[in-house]
Symmetry: C2
Subunit: 216 residues, 2 copies
DNA sequence: TAGATTGTTAATCGATTAACAATC
DNA sequence: TAGATTGTTAATCGATTAACAATC
């Protein structure tokens, strides 16, 4: 009953299911069994059935899953059936990269404003989105029903700005700054720590090199 | 003995330990117990001790861990004590954002080349790094001892280019394209799927909204 | 020596996989 | 009805936490 109790491991897999189902739709495939899907995705069929059953019976015995139906159900779970207004705080290269990525908009995530503390950027437009002064932040959030803020600024400022955003009513923070945010429980925080990702790559690369040396 | 057997869960936590230890060093703290560190990092002391012991006894009974020593040991494990040459394939906004991020260089990840199939970009420089034609890729990789390639290009091209890179000797791929790469086992692949990250945020945001509605 | 804290074993918890009855 | 495949329970596996002996 309680949807909160679904494990993070399961939730993390949902976007990948969603992606594969979208591709199946593009290929004109109408139905698929957990077994077929498991082979395409390189996971077990059992895991797929377990995962999906956390959310209700999306399949049908003897038939499998209807691709379009399942795609839509997962989309609804992921909230991509609704529009979400997003702002970007920190309009450097990374902020601009996100503003330029139109695929997010296709999923309902609409960047409606960009901000920076560097006044040289004010008035500059990225894909039609004006970069504004941080002083306009409070007003902008209240007037434009902003739910999500992407934090693409140095970690020294991230904590302070995050608290500010929350006080203005932002509900979720997509945090690209290399710092842990400590915010009220009801605020959603999703971290993208690029340097940690690169270090994991480097860890595995180093192990591969160790292995090679061991063999020679 | 076999370092391959260390679980992904543990490895994923290493960069975060590394970050906290770096901050402790900046604060001039010389030693720390698993208990103190656990409170700062919001994990259990037991987990810290278990994690670190996968790699050997970095601590000392009755004393704790020497911050600088532990920092260096974890850095070595993560391979940030060595220089790694990296190229960026796809010189759009995201590729340029990565090229501009000097913190990677501080950790030994040096961007030595950028590539794109759009010839309008050729010759353009990003932080002194020239954007080159894809035709120069093979030669560049061989001549410049390139280990890592960041893939910041559309998913339609990612698979083909990844295979190309591997054939030229690239050892690790940092994949920002929204597609699963199927490469030989010895090739390290680290995925950064921004849209999946945003969907997880959206999932949690939607659950928060459900909760709120339930209460009202 | 007494106190502190690790390294490590044992207990618990949670997630994944296997198996199969239910049912389309 | 027979075959296919889900939904779901049970078994297994792995990761986290607790406990404590070893030792600095």
């Amino acid at each position: 009953m309680n949807k909160d109790s679904i494990s993070r491991a399961v939730i993390k897999r949902l976007p990948r299911y969603y992606r594969y189902l979208g591709e199946l739709m593009e290929d004109g495939i109408e139905r698929i069994s957990s077994n077929d899907l498991s082979q395409r995705m390189n996971v077990t069929a059992s895991q797929i059935r377990q995962d999906l059953n956390n959310f209700g019976g999306f399949g049908q015995q003897g038939y499998g899953y209807n691709v379009e139906h399942l795609y839509q159900e997962i989309g609804r779970l992921l909230g991509v059936d609704k529009k979400h207004n997003m702002i970007i705080i920190g309009s450097g290269h990374l902020g601009q990269a996100i503003a330029n990525y139109t695929n997010f908009e296709r999923r309902g995530f609409v960047v409606t404003g960009m901000f920076d503390k560097n006044e040289n950027l004010y008035g500059k437009e990225v894909r039609g989105i004006k970069i504004l002064s941080m002083e306009l932040l409070k007003d902008f959030i209240k007037k434009n029903d902003i739910e999500i803020a992407a934090l693409t600024l140095p970690k020294t400022e991230a904590i302070k700005v995050a608290e500010e955003l929350v006080s203005y009513g932002v509900k979720a923070i997509w945090n690209f700054a290399h710092v842990d945010l400590d915010l009220p429980r009801e605020i959603v925080v999703e971290n993208v720590h690029l340097s940690e990702s690169l270090m994991m790559l480097s860890y595995n690369l180093t192990r591969q090199e160790d292995k090679k040396k061991g063999v020679m």
